[in-house]
């Protein structure tokens, strides 16, 4: 597994991204060739001392200026279009389906459990390798665009409409997804983590995610659960298995198992969790979660202890 998540379309780890990278290399090669020809002809035209041959000049202008660009464009267009059917084809019936909602400025993610019940998580998508996966994409406010550059192309998420995308990861690793359509103040910090693993690891993770939150075991965590309830965190955040069922913010049922906080902004550590709760707007300006700067130290310590044990 990569130690640092990659976010490059030129480091493909999925079938769609491989096709796109291939198209990019062909386009770049074609552009380089045409550039060399044009510059070469310009140099020839400047350097040649005697008068240019009329018929040859005419042939070069018509051939090089009209016929060759038309042929090259037709070839590139046909090559690009020939990729479309496979890139656009939905995953076969029965494939894993993931629902992703774009929300300013985070990602609501839902898997379907064995009995069809939704399994909610946020800002992190885990996928099995070597399987086609169908994504259903939604927006809850403005237009967003869902893009995991290493796995495939991007698709807009449009309010009131459902769009779709098929991805087929071919390599185990950790990748980064982004919002590729400007959506307001914290757009640049609306990212997510993607973890591609073997099928068995993925199934284990999904089974863990489908379970309700574990009961806190230490006194500190028990106190933290009370703080979570008394401070009204449950009005915005859901923790399955508790009374907290808010839908405004991300589901926190298994927050402790996630790689990062704040839509892939901070590593998921105790220090960063404290920072996120108390200095929310310094960490992520424009975010809609209110900062809890005035939370007493003992309550903050207890709350962090509770949240980090939600594995």
């Amino acid at each position: 597994m990569n130690s640092f998540p990659t976010q490059s379309a030129l480091d493909p780890a999925g079938q769609g991204a491989e096709s796109i990278a291939q198209l990019f290399y062909w386009m770049s090669g074609g552009a380089a060739l045409i550039w060399c020809l044009v510059i070469g002809l310009a140099v020839y035209a400047i350097r040649r001392p005697q008068a240019h041959h009329y018929r040859l000049t005419r042939l070069l202008v018509i051939g090089g200026g009209a016929v060759v660009p038309t042929v090259v464009l037709t070839c590139l267009l046909s090559y690009g279009l020939s990729m479309m059917p496979e890139l656009q084809r939905p995953a076969p019936e029965g494939s894993l389906t993931v629902h992703v909602h774009g929300v300013r400025w985070w990602w609501r993610v839902e898997y379907l459990g064995p009995s069809g019940q939704p399994i909610a998580t946020a800002n992190e998508i885990r996928l099995p390798v070597d399987q086609p996966i169908e994504f259903k994409l939604f927006s809850e406010d403005v237009i967003h665009s869902f893009w995991i550059p290493s796995l495939g192309g991007k698709v807009d998420m449009i309010p009131g409409r459902t769009t779709r995308l098929k991805l087929h990861p071919t390599r185990v690793g950790q990748f980064r997804g982004v919002c590729a359509e400007y959506c307001g103040g914290a757009h640049a910090q609306m990212n997510f983590d993607v973890v591609v693993s073997d099928a068995a690891t993925f199934e284990r993770w999904l089974a863990d995610q489908s379970a309700p939150a574990s009961e806190p075991e230490t006194d500190l965590a028990v106190a933290g659960k009370a703080v979570f309830s008394q401070r009204g965190c449950g009005a915005c955040h859901a923790i399955r298995g508790t009374a907290a069922d808010g839908l405004v913010g991300p589901d926190l049922t298994h927050l402790g198992s996630r790689l990062r906080l704040g839509a892939s902004l901070l590593d998921n550590t105790r220090q960063n969790l404290r920072r996120w709760i108390t200095q929310t707007h310094q960490v992520k300006p424009k975010v809609e979660m209110p900062a809890f700067e005035a939370l007493p130290e003992d309550e903050l310590t207890a709350l962090v202890a509770y949240l980090e044990q939600l594995k």
Binding site: T70, L73, T74, L77, S78, L81, S82, M84, P85, Q88, R89, P90, R164
Partner: protein
């Protein structure tokens, strides 16, 4: 060169409108293709699963459009070949206007022909509404 030097002078002044016909055909073809695909895929595509009727419709539009563009191009080319006015046809004379309009329309017809083929190429490769 002046009118008096030309062997050929058109009876009526040429109209600039003829210049717009080939690109107009391309524009109508593009719009018709786009609307047909959008409406079919929004209304019937999800149930039908494929876009074969759209492909047939666009093939028909394309045959009509390319024929029209070829006819306009041929008329323009014949116009360009009539008369003795020399390049670059920029004198304020009827003969120069005649050959200039013919030449410009011929070039636009070639461009419109290629653009129409490019529009139709999409449905050669893409056969579904996905």
């Amino acid at each position: 060169m002046t009118d008096a030097d030309d062997e050929f002078v058109p009876e009526k002044p040429d109209r600039l409108w003829s210049l717009t016909f080939p690109p107009l055909v391309w524009a109508v073809h593009f719009l018709a293709s786009y609307l047909t695909a959008a409406i079919w895929c929004a209304k019937a595509g999800p149930q039908a699963g494929d876009a074969d009727p759209v492909r047939v419709a666009i093939a028909a539009y394309t045959v009509v459009a390319l024929t029209l563009i070829a006819v306009f191009g041929w008329i323009a080319f014949r116009k360009h070949r009539t008369g003795e006015a020399t390049l670059p046809h920029d004198f304020d004379s009827r003969a120069d206007q005649h050959r200039f309009l013919g030449f410009a329309t011929t070039l636009l017809a070639i461009l419109s022909f290629v653009a129409t083929v490019f529009t139709a190429l999409v449905v050669v490769f893409v056969g579904s509404c996905h």
